[in-house]
């Protein structure tokens, strides 16, 4: 989105209404920038593929546990079998704790990485940063992002009544 319009709003109510009306009017915003998460604003924005972060973490967890257990079983039974206090080589009850931890560990790490990947982060420079107003978006202002288009700009001005309207172009 090298070229786009940024509509600024001051309150949560304002931006939520604006987003809804925009999508009802048939030109939904591409994205919304806000200093706080906005619940169910997603469904009024332009359609966007679903992100199955939960599944990714779940699979990672299961794999982590499996690897953890296999590592113990292999090393204790195949790799280096020893008589340790008469305990069986494959002391499964004792082997349950490490997998528990590896599961959580791998789910956590993969979760973070997965989230970055899904959000295309890190992305240290983004065209939106060109607009000064964008820095308020992480502090106290709410922005709607629309495709760059003259009529649309007028329509936004008249119907959505943003605080300000900025355009970004190269």
């Amino acid at each position: 989105m090298s070229e786009c319009l940024l509509a600024e709003f001051v309150t949560v109510e304002a931006i939520c209404n604006a987003t809804r009306r925009a999508s009802e009017a048939g030109h939904p915003a591409k994205d919304a920038l806000s200093p706080v998460p906005l619940e169910d604003i997603g469904k009024y924005l332009a359609p966007h593929p679903e992100r199955p972060i939960g599944w990714v973490m779940f699979v990672a967890g299961v794999l982590g546990a499996a690897i953890g257990y296999f590592m113990q079983w292999y090393s204790a039974v195949i790799g280096y079998p020893i008589d340790s206090g008469g305990r069986p080589l494959h002391s499964w009850p004792a082997f349950l704790l490490v997998p528990y931890e590896t599961a959580i560990l791998s789910a956590g790490i993969v979760g973070i990485l997965g989230w970055m990947w899904m959000c295309g982060l890190p992305k240290l420079f983004h065209p939106l940063f060109a607009a000064d107003i964008s820095e308020r978006a992480v502090q106290d202002r709410f922005l709607l992002v629309f495709p760059h288009d003259a009529e649309l700009a007028n329509w936004i001005e008249t119907h959505l009544k943003p605080e300000t309207l900025h355009e970004i172009r190269e």
Binding site: Y80, I82, D83, S84, G85, G86, R87, A94
Partner: protein
Amino acid sequence: MPSLSTRANLDRRIALKMLAASVAATMARCSRPDEEIIPYTNMPEGLVAGEPIRFATSLTLSGFARGVLAISVDGRPIKIEGNPRHPFSLGATDVFSEAEVLSLYDRDRSTAIYRNETVTTLADFMAAWRDASQSSSGGGMALVTGRVVSPTTLARIDALKRRFPDLRWYRYEPVNDDVSRSGSRLAFGRVVTSLQRWADADAILCLDADPLGPGPDQLRIARAYSSRRGGNKRQCIHVAEPVWTLTGASADFRLAAVPGEIREIARQIANDLGADLGEPRLSEPVRAFAQRASIQLRANRGRALVFTGEGQDAGMQALCHWINERLSAPIDYLSSPDAVENGHAEELSAFANDLHARRIHTLIVADANPVYDAPDALGVADGIANVSFTAHIGLHRDETSVCCKWHLPLSHALESWGDARAVDGTASLVQPLIRGLYETRTRDEYLALLAAEEIVNAYALTRATWQMPDNGWRKMLSDGVIANTAAKPMALSVARIPDFPYAKTNGLSLQLSPDPSLWDGRLANNAWLQECAKPFTRQVWGNAVQISPNDAAHLGLADQDTVTIAASGETFTAPMIVMPGQADGVIATNWGQGRLRAGRIGTSVGARVSGLGPHPFMRLLSGVTMSKSDKTVTFRSLQAHTKLAGRSEDLFQIATLTELAHIPKQQTLPSLLKAPPRGEYAWAMVIDTDACIGCNACVVACQAENNVPVVGPEEVSQGRDMHWLRVDSYLRPHNKTLRRGFEPVPCMHCELAPCEPVCPVEASVHDHDGLNVQVYNRCIGTRFCEANCPYKVRRFNWFDYSGDQAYADEGPALKAQHNPDVSARGRGVMEKCNYCLQRISRARKTAEKENREVSEGEIVTACQAACPTKAIHFGNLNDGKAKVSRLKQAPHHYILLAELNTRPRTTYLKRVYNSDDGE
């Protein structure tokens, strides 16, 4: 290494350089002596490097020999074991002989000849000696030695007397038999050595005597004692004593009584045997004891024995001779190998008098330390200072040495040729295991030089004593014992009952006895012995005063208070220990501590009590006073608690003969884990607490065998020690009496070991023979194993104890003692008993070479080898006929902390008493 004696008047700096060099060169100098030395078994063709070889030789205690086998590797003696052929070792050792190998490498040994403080040469000394003695016929010339029974040395003294007819020879031994000598003179009109045949007695009464305690005769009696344990034909042992002794701890009936009361017991028994010594003055418990003992003795005529000790007087000794005669007790009377007529105290006093009367102008002190041994009242040190020519021959520059103008370094027994006699006169040879570490000579060589004999070489002198063809000589060397040299028993009879006046007791009396670890103090610089816990107090690095609970309460003193004791004008300060089962009215402590010039290890440890008393070597000082001191002397012990907090039933288990009949066999508890399959061997140990007398020989043996470091007094106060094997001492109130017991605790080698699953790095694992082994290289020092060990047998290297943080840096010499088969453990590593793994694998290798199984008795652990009572049994559980397998079926077999179900391989046999009321 240039020899010091080749250099004329060299200055101090060079001398010190060379001393340093001599120490550094020790390793290099570890080589066999020039003369042929003969190993115990038949001479091996071509010595294998690193292969331990046993050589028979003799070590002396107070002059009397105990035959030993010194294990030598690549020409370095590393371990002492007993010589089975020697009647006063019978294959066992005591703490003193075990520790001698450390004394050999003692860094503080004197290594050069001194004139005052400067190193000089033998030539210088001989010149001075000739000036002093040339024209003399020996008038005013004095020789001071310990007890001399060695034929070769006696020959040297005779030679010296021939050269100097008027020479006066003073011989004294701090721990001596003065009372029994004069006792026998009273009874038989002559000095005799009485050799009790313990094993032949069914009823034994010890009146203030400790035959099982440390001494030159301990091993023989201890073996006889153990031969009568177990089985049903047991002995009934009565002991009446003021202070706990090893014998008292092993008694069926023990009575705590002051010497005066004990004397009355003898009177009672004598009267029962037909004497008329007047009415015995007995209080109630004593009377009951005396009557039971008397009945026992009379019921076993011919098989009854009465002992009495040096703490009593000659009359008492004589009376006991009379009683034994009436009982026709199993005793052999021999003529004493110590030919000197006078008593030891007598001799030392005479020496002191002659010093002060200026009757001595030339003095030779040969391997004796009168300045330390004699009471301050005798003022020996000042006396010696007045003598114009003084020379000291000794292993150390000790208290006496620094008072003498000349010092001549003595060779250690393991570097010397010579001979010795045991208590019964049995002669044995002393052969060197190693060429002298330093430029030293033996006592015989020095005496020969002084007498200007033509032969001045110990080997030649010894061979000259025993005119023998080479093959006979070889046999003598390899056996270590010279056949038919023991004195023959004599038929003697007691002339008459000695008159036996009543003793008067006045106030608190102080009983002095030799230190169970340091003996008379000559071993004070031996770190193993300093850190070897005394049997009852478990004290190390010092001596404490023991007192009965009543006396302590009466004096308002608490356990471990520091007290000052005044006896006959002298005072000393020491920590005080309250000892249940000690007689009221008697306090006790040990000789041998408080050395002023012992060396890095032994100097000013503990309190010197040999300085007390008007006369030398008094065993009992009466009328002493005791008060709390403003100083504090820390009481260092390896075991804080000897009272079993209600746990006695299962920790120190006892049974009576009647119970033995129907003890239910201890069942092994069920476990969810199935015990791992057994390998070719299943090593196991059974320790018989019924036989154990708590002599500590096993502890020192383990230390020597396994390179166990000493940690020193400061670390001990921190609660740290490194012994792989400890002897727990237990006190158990039982039916109105106190039962004392000892429980040697090595690693239990549990089959379901708690220490192993908790180790994160597999440093503590089981091997194929079911040994619980510690992999030092793998250990990272989490110490979880010791935390989880219910027996607390593991030891941790908090510092680099065997390396550069070693206590009182023993230097390179000590390293020569280390057993090359056992790796030294570094800092931060856990270690523990491994059943002498090195011995096991050696035996297995041999067996595999000859492709056969390791057979019963082929592996003997260090502790087992040392044990004089054969209380430790080791073997293969897979072999049903093995002793251990059979003992584990015994009715009095038990497992320590069985309720934890760790399935230990080390298990115990209960202490057995004839009957239950030991009052």
